[in-house]
Symmetry: C2
């Protein structure tokens, strides 16, 4: 969009007039803060100018780009996959967390926290190639219905955040997902849902290895078990592994994003940190300081004094979903 | 370059005539094979067309983009750093490999193979932030002299490969380094030396963690010890972690690249696999089936029958170095 306009401007000399980049955001402090920041870092010759190369923006996924209630979508997928697998081979239910998952006991699964969930995910997706796994995930996300909204999972992305991703990319930012969820899971849908290709997705990683099929064709297999948890203090570590430098923009919604936002803000020059506060029970969900999923406590208490922007979903978003309210 | 030409072409209607993209390559089979492949995958409407999004090219680093003799440059850097550290604290010499390294006994170090070398690298660079480490590496590569050539390390990149990287990028490929060397080490120089930014570097990884300084500023620290070895069968695994899909072009120079090239070639549609054969003792080094560094045995025997292009450095390269012969 921007490059087409730029070519038109070069050829005709006409100024390129851009429409409101964030039409689903209510006019208010949050929207104004985003636009002020983007204009500052993109103004050539300006005091806050940041070269396009360094305009790195990172986004949490669950609860930041799409919903995460009543539990992470990956957990709901994993439960379905685990049950199918355990029916064929009950011996895979080798821990209390896995037994709880197979019995549909979500409280029992969540007692293990994020790592418990990831255990379910990994057990349910061992001994499959990355490509086969992703084809199965893609099918689930685009055909199964969310338990409370009745929408397809792939349709539960937030319209205001899609606009923000596009706005930043139009202004020559590179947008990354940095999620506690599984990297292979998110990559199955990230390009289609967000316009974010697989190499701009950072996430938790399961063990994997290279294997040759009977015909001698190489393939990368998911072996089960975790090799890296990209949550909390793991997020800056994951970013340094995959991106190799500190971002200038970070958005999250829970205390699992605290370290990522704090680390981003600690760099020199202009920085933007954002936490989405789920305040909208009517259109989405309302939750913050307590619960098993997406707890936002420390960030809510300390974020404002640290200069982070807190987005009030009920007030700051005129619409939530891409296809309606 | 390409985009500027494209704008000129749009505005004036003039055709964009491109010069020989590989001037340092001798006219011959290798150069012809590269150009034929690139033209096939970039010809809109052609049978072999590959969208720009999927034009992923991966390059080994040591021995493929710059020299690796008499031993990997990272090892030479690590020896220097280890000695400085051991002088202050001899207790860090906790294994035979580390003791050999400190004594300057390269044969003793190489007895441990790539993993032995990486042990030296990690021991010598623990308890330092990624940024501090990279500043030190950058200083070494741009000021210290290579033991036999007398050149600066950063000047020991291969001119024909720099041309190939640029040619591919001009044709909308994305070029990645996929190295057995340390990811943080390579990133210290990759953009300057090759035009490859840190997020397009895949390599072996040391353990790292997030820490807060006394002033509360977050930083990612190198903790010592390996978490991932990106060599041999690890290369396809590293590519799937970082890039998330199979490349269409792979270049290497040793059997450490065999799995990467084999896996790349096994995908559907047009593929290009290349191995550089170090045949040029006069201008660089001559070595292949035997030794401690960059052994090329299986690839030399099996590569041609698999359709891989073997580059004979003495014959196929008119010049080796960016600044001269």
């Amino acid at each position: 969009m921007r490059s087409i306009l730029a070519v038109v401007a070069i050829c005709t000399g006409a100024p390129a007039v851009l429409a409101d980049p964030l039409p689903s955001w209510t006019e208010g402090d949050a929207k104004a803060a985003i636009i002020t920041f983007v204009e500052a870092v993109t103004e050539a010759g300006g005091e806050g100018f940041v070269p396009a190369r360094d305009r790195i923006a990172v986004f949490d996924n669950d609860g930041t780009l799409w919903s995460e209630q009543p539990v992470y979508f990956q957990a709901l997928y994993a439960l379905e996959a685990l049950r199918a697998k355990a029916e064929a081979d009950p011996s895979i239910l080798s821990s209390d967390v896995l037994k709880a998952a197979n019995a549909g006991d979500m409280a029992g699964v969540m007692a293990g926290g994020m790592e418990g969930l990831l255990e379910v995910v990994n057990a349910s997706h061992a001994n499959v190639s990355v490509e086969e796994f992703q084809a199965d995930v893609h099918s689930f996300l685009t055909t199964a219905e969310h338990p409370t909204s009745g929408r397809l999972y792939a349709e539960m992305t937030y319209q205001p955040m899609l606009e923000l991703l596009r706005y930043l990319r139009d202004e020559e930012f590179t947008t990354y997902i940095v999620s506690g969820g599984g990297i292979d899971f998110i990559r199955a849908i990230s390009d289609e849902a967000y316009g974010i290709p697989p190499w701009q997705v950072v996430g938790s990683e399961g063990k994997s290895s290279y294997a040759l099929s009977d015909s001698g064709t190489g393939v990368v297999m998911k072996d089960g078990g975790m090799s890296f948890v990209d949550d909390k203090e793991g997020k800056p570590v994951g970013i340094m592994r995959h991106i190799g430098q500190r971002p200038i923009f970070a958005a999250g919604n829970s205390d699992g994003d605290f370290a990522m936002v704090d680390w981003t803000m600690a760099g020199e020059g202009p920085r933007f940190g954002m936490l989405i506060h789920h305040t909208d029970e009517a259109r989405e969900f309302a939750y913050d300081r307590e619960g098993h999923v997406g707890v936002l406590d420390r960030g809510l208490s300390e974020g404002p004094a640290r200069g982070w922007t807190i987005v009030d979903m009920a007030q700051d978003w005129q619409r939530v979903w891409a296809d309606g309210q």
